[in-house]
């Protein structure tokens, strides 16, 4: 996992978010204020631009640039939450990047989100996608799986975690103001987290294919 891996991850995540922008906004309209897709699309577009304008000199720096850009450009709750997650990952990431190193850095990112948002699993937030993904990464590391397999499992865990928010009652963020009426809708933050993890798995596929070539 070199610098290029991380830059590709952000480019692919931006692409996924752009494709699913309206879907994310519709999820947000059901339980929030209908701006999640629009805001993340704007933020990740800015991240791609920042990574081009200031090419990172280490994987950790790519994460720090992405995190800082999201905090400075997005606003709302998703800017600080995703921004802090990537910044915490960047601070924890050692070069060269190994799978156990990545898993530990990812865990640090999830802890940062929990600390800032004061949310716990089951509160119907992005944590419900990120925490299972982190657990899957750690477990895959212990089993000695390849990055491709590990990221695939993390993406599946995030996807399942996001879907599991549908029957939950929101206890944090704007959706919490709906009380019982938040039940029956997928959390937009969990859904966007699953997209970002899906992009990660996609990049790992590209890398794995490259190695075969």
């Amino acid at each position: 996992m070199d610098i290029g891996f991380f830059v590709t991850w952000f480019k692919d995540a931006a692409e996924q978010i752009r494709l699913r922008r309206d879907h994310l906004t519709e999820l947000d309209a059901a339980i929030g204020d209908a701006d999640h897709g629009v805001n993340l699309d704007r933020g990740f577009t800015e991240v791609c631009k920042a990574l081009e304008d200031w090419p990172p000199t280490a994987p950790a720096q790519a994460l720090l640039t992405a995190g800082t850009t999201l905090i400075r450009r997005v606003g709302g709750a998703s800017g600080p939450l995703y921004g802090s997650a990537f910044r915490a990952m960047g601070k924890a990431l050692q070069d060269p990047v190994t799978l156990p190193g990545f898993a530990a850095a990812f865990e640090a990112g999830v802890v940062a989100v929990q600390r800032l948002g004061k949310a716990a699993p089951g509160d119907k937030t992005m944590i419900d996608a990120l925490a299972p993904a982190s657990r899957a990464l750690t477990a895959a590391t212990q089993e000695g799986l390849t990055p491709y397999e590990a990221f695939h499992r993390a993406a599946v865990a995030a996807e399942e975690g996001s879907r599991a928010t549908i029957p939950m009652r929101a206890r944090k963020g704007r959706a919490s103001y709906l009380g019982e009426r938040s039940v029956g809708h997928e959390d937009p933050g969990a859904a966007s987290s699953a997209l970002i993890l899906g992009a990660l798995a996609g990049v790992a596929v590209k890398e794995a294919t490259k190695e075969v070539d």
Binding site: T25, A29, A30, I31, G32, D33, A34, D35, V38, N39, R42, I71, R72, R73, V74, G75, G76, A77, S78, G79, P80, L81, L116, G117, A170, R171, K172, G173, R174, S176, Y177, L178, G179, R181
Partner: protein
């Protein structure tokens, strides 16, 4: 949905240009709206901000006797730390700066981050959380901050203008919040320029009770009813949380799409309700102050006044959105 805009992406910047052009007392720079007169030495600076779409909140309350700067975010999205840091440094007259923050997760996070990074300025914060529609506050992010934000900005602004120190301005700001309660009802959804369609479906015969100010759905739906009945629902919710007593400051606020005629009909009902509980409306405000784009509906905000708060409410104010006594 027809909107008088150029593009959804440029709405906020173009609205700010228009505001600056219409009001020479304001200066707009990098998405911060300042008093053109600049900071005054020894005066506590007041900074607030939040998503755009609530006009005249907050930029319309920048001026003498209220805010020193406002940070508008994207539509319904809180500002970013950079804007808040810029504003805080620019309005500091050496006496420190008060951040007035509505209790929405995004606003709280971005103001917290900005305050942390502004270590060269003494910053105090007041969190506005007046919305009684939010129940189970132990398990949620707490009550929302809505209409009482205007009361806090006006009263704290008057005290700052009189030269009070930061701790005192912050104390009174928190007291206004503690004494204030709000409840909102929507007759229609609103349409954000980026989405281009209503945020939620609200059939002709129904209303949303307990809405916030972002077009988010409320606590529950009910059948459309008369102004008398809707005002009673709002006032019972407020009275059940903070009993109406003594002298009250009452605002009947339009959400952006309701004619003043209907707001006055509603105010008459609210005033009668207050009298029925043995309290008195001694100060009032009727109009569009904390809006939610083109939403039809209203919110009521009540503040229990004392002599000091009444005096500060009456103090001169000169902003695009609120002006008297000067």
């Amino acid at each position: 949905m027809k909107k008088l805009i150029n593009t959804a992406q440029s709405v906020v910047d173009e609205a700010l240009s228009g505001m600056a052009a219409a009001h020479p007392s304001l200066r707009v720079h990098e998405r911060v709206v300042y008093r053109a007169s600049g900071p005054r030495a020894g005066k506590v600076g007041l900074v607030s901000g939040g998503g755009s779409g609530h006009e005249p909140l907050h930029a319309g309350f920048v001026g003498y006797g209220m805010l020193d700067a406002a940070c508008p975010g994207e539509v319904f999205t809180s500002p970013v730390p950079d804007q808040i840091i810029e504003a805080t440094r620019a309005v500091d007259g050496g006496a420190g700066v008060l951040h007035i923050v509505k209790n929405y997760t995004g606003d709280v996070l971005n103001f917290e981050m900005a305050a942390e990074l502004c270590d060269d300025v003494e910053v105090a914060s007041v969190l506005v959380d007046d919305d009684v529609a939010v129940e189970d506050s132990l398990y949620t992010a707490g009550r929302r901050g809505t209409g009482a934000t205007l009361f806090v900005e006006k009263i704290a602004g008057a005290l700052a203008e009189q030269g009070a120190p930061l701790a005192e301005v912050a104390r009174v700001a928190a007291e206004v919040d503690e004494r204030s309660r709000s409840f909102g009802i929507a007759l229609t959804s609103c349409t954000t320029p980026a989405a281009g369609k209503p945020t939620f479906d609200l059939p002709e015969g129904e209303v949303e009770l307990g809405i916030g100010i972002h077009g988010e759905p409320g606590r529950r739906r009910a059948a459309m009813a008369s102004a008398h009945e809707l005002a009673t629902v709002a006032m019972e919710a407020i009275h059940g949380d903070l009993p109406l007593a003594g002298d009250l400051l009452v605002m009947v606020n339009g959400m952006g799409g309701t004619p003043l005629m209907e707001l006055y009909v509603t105010f008459a009902e609210v005033e009668a309700f207050v009298r029925g509980k043995g309290a008195r409306v001694t100060r009032s405000l009727v109009g569009n102050y904390v809006t939610s784009l083109d939403m039809q509906g209203f919110s009521v905000t009540v503040c229990r006044l004392d002599d000091e708060l009444t005096r500060l409410w009456d103090a001169p104010v000169d902003t695009p959105g609120l002006r008297w006594g000067r």
